[in-house]
């Protein structure tokens, strides 16, 4: 029994999409550095936009990898991506301003080694395996660092683990209220991996269309971004948080409306079922 997943050809080639995703993700994450330049926290939301760009790239990679029928289900690819991505991302935060680029490179290296293990030692023998796992680990690392930058307005290790708190006029370092110490990283981990794997997992099948799959990924990505914007209330000012929430909500609404339109386009028929009307007199 073979269960080759049908993937519709056409649309934007994967490599083009990868380059767009990579560049816009890095640019987005680096735009949060405007916070430091301008001395505000209003630009934190760019981290989330960068993460959504990386998610779209990753969704295309998952589609390419899983079309070979890896046998373990699409979610496992998302879990592997974030399992290796979080390891790369945390080490990368030690590299200061170079963190996003280090996260990308480290993700690619760790992913390539894991891809080699899966493809050669475990004899998966899938032509795109090494490249795909490398891309997925890089996507995992970029999404994590993007959402982290959105939450705290920063992507280096110290601000993520220590927060100076003023107690009775004296400033002390608080470790438990930081992003890492508070365990929010685990929530970001799950929000990102759900967004990464859901798009293709939900849309795969005979009439799969690239734009619809990627639009769903963007939609779930913005939904995750909305949650991350709410997390950021603990770290950045109320004004910056409201900006983040508004941009996430607008992005989510737009992609959701687009996704519904695309679903109607691809559906064989569309019936607008009305809510069941309760008959009176019971």
């Amino acid at each position: 029994m073979t269960a080759q997943i049908t993937v519709t050809e056409g649309g934007i080639p994967h490599n083009t999409l990868m380059i767009y995703g990579l560049i816009s993700s890095l640019v987005g994450i680096y735009l949060t550095y405007l916070n430091t330049v301008t001395g505000t926290q209003l630009f934190s939301f760019f981290g989330g936009l960068g993460a959504v760009a990386a998610l779209i790239w990753g969704s295309s990679t998952i589609k390419r990898l899983c079309s070979y029928g890896i046998g373990t289900g699409v979610p496992s690819a998302g879990m592997l991506a974030f399992g290796s991505g979080v390891i790369a991302m945390l080490l990368a935060t030690k590299f200061g301003i170079a963190s996003p680029i280090v996260a990308l490179v480290l993700g690619l290296v760790i992913g390539a080694i894991l891809g080699y293990i899966a493809n050669n030692i475990l004899a998966m023998k899938i032509p795109v395996m090494i490249q795909s796992i490398a891309e997925l680990a890089a996507v995992g690392a970029l999404v994590m660092i993007g959402f982290t930058a959105m939450t705290t307005g920063s992507f280096t290790f110290s601000p993520l683990s220590v927060i100076p708190v003023t107690v009775l006029g004296a400033t002390v370092n608080s470790f438990g209220t930081s992003l890492i110490g508070g365990g929010l990283l685990a929530a970001i981990f799950m929000l990102g991996s759900i967004a990464l794997q859901h798009g293709f997992n939900a849309c795969l099948g005979p009439s799969e269309k690239q734009d619809r799959t990627l639009m769903l990924t963007a939609e779930v990505g913005f939904l995750s971004m909305l949650m991350v914007a709410i997390f950021s209330f603990a770290f950045i000012g109320v004004g910056a948080m409201i900006v983040s929430v508004l941009i996430s909500a607008i992005g989510w609404y737009y992609t959701y409306a687009q996704y519904i339109t695309l679903s109607k386009r691809d559906a064989a028929a569309w019936l607008d079922s009305k809510p069941i009307v309760e008959a009176e007199g019971h």
């Binding site: 073979t2 269960a3 029928g69």
Partner: protein, 281 residues
């Protein structure tokens, strides 16, 4: 779960000698880097590798059924490895983490029991749903007699299926897999916690008690990452589905042990490097 179960034609279980040697050389290099940069972290790294291997080995015991199991056409728990590993392994990890201060042995055993218990509950409820909800008996398609109870299987197996439900041997396999997974995950967590408790106070110039939230959180998230990497690699080895320790695919486990060893050495190295790299930027 997507409709991927039993997707690929069964690949052979033979070990590829060239790539395995390349992998082992890589693992030795990773261990060597830790030995040079942070000698105190060498033993923790070996513990992390052992934990990773336990996870990779444990996954082979767990009856992963995938989508065919959800339709009652194959035995096993009706979901993918990633979900089962996250459930059983993290239950064990959290259980073991509570016992961290009681020492490595007690905490690891606690973690193993946590994982095993989670799998036992899962397997029981899966069978309750199969038998009383879907109305199908438990029957293996891979063996004619249950290796533990000696019960014959063929007369309970529906035609056109590969078996269904959770036979006794699969149930036991699930619990054993949970024990291995929970214990391995907890071991990784404890080893990383040991490294961070040693190095983080120096980095932040603070007391051990103060940095504990960061140390616990870092060790936890790295342990989750390592857990998922090892579980998914083992899932690739069994191409998604397995009935339990009696399944012919179980014989492929030596490959997964090599793979888990290399992957854990790599991820453990990166997790330890985070306290070694100190650029002050």
């Amino acid at each position: 779960m997507s409709a991927l179960g039993a997707a690929k034609p069964a690949a052979g279980g033979a070990i590829d000698p060239v790539s395995s040697v390349v992998g082992l050389v890589l693992a030795v290099i990773f261990i060597g880097i830790v030995f040079v940069l942070a000698p105190a972290a060498l033993f923790p790294l070996l513990g992390i590798i052992l934990g990773g291997v336990l996870i990779g080995f444990g996954v082979h015991f767990v009856p992963v059924g995938g989508a065919p199991a959800a339709m009652g056409q194959a035995p096993g728990i009706a979901t993918g490895v990633a979900m089962l590993a996250a459930g059983a392994g993290l239950a064990g990890l959290f259980g073991g983490a509570w016992a961290a201060e009681l020492g490595v042995v007690v905490a690891t055993v606690t973690g193993a029991i946590g994982g095993g218990l989670m799998m036992a509950v899962t397997c029981l409820m899966v069978n309750v749903i199969y038998v009383f909800g879907m109305g199908i008996p438990a029957a293996s398609g891979k063996v004619t007699k249950d290796p533990l109870t000696g019960d014959t299987q063929a007369e309970y197996k529906s035609q056109g299926t590969e078996g269904h439900g959770l036979p006794f041997i699969s149930f036991v396999g699930g619990v054993v897999g949970g024990l291995f997974g929970g214990g391995g995950g907890t071991l990784i967590y404890l080893m990383l916690l040991q490294v961070y408790e040693q190095y983080l106070p120096v980095i932040f110039n603070a007391k051990v008690e103060e940095i504990m939230p960061v140390a616990v959180s870092l060790a936890g998230i790295f342990a989750i990452g390592l857990f998922l990497v090892n579980a998914v690699l083992a899932a690739y080895n069994i191409t998604g589905t397995i009935e339990g320790p009696h399944d012919p695919k179980f014989k492929r486990f030596p490959r997964a042990i090599v793979a888990s060893l290399v992957a854990s050495a790599l991820c453990g190295l990166v997790a330890i490097l985070i306290v070694v790299v100190n650029l002050n930027i």
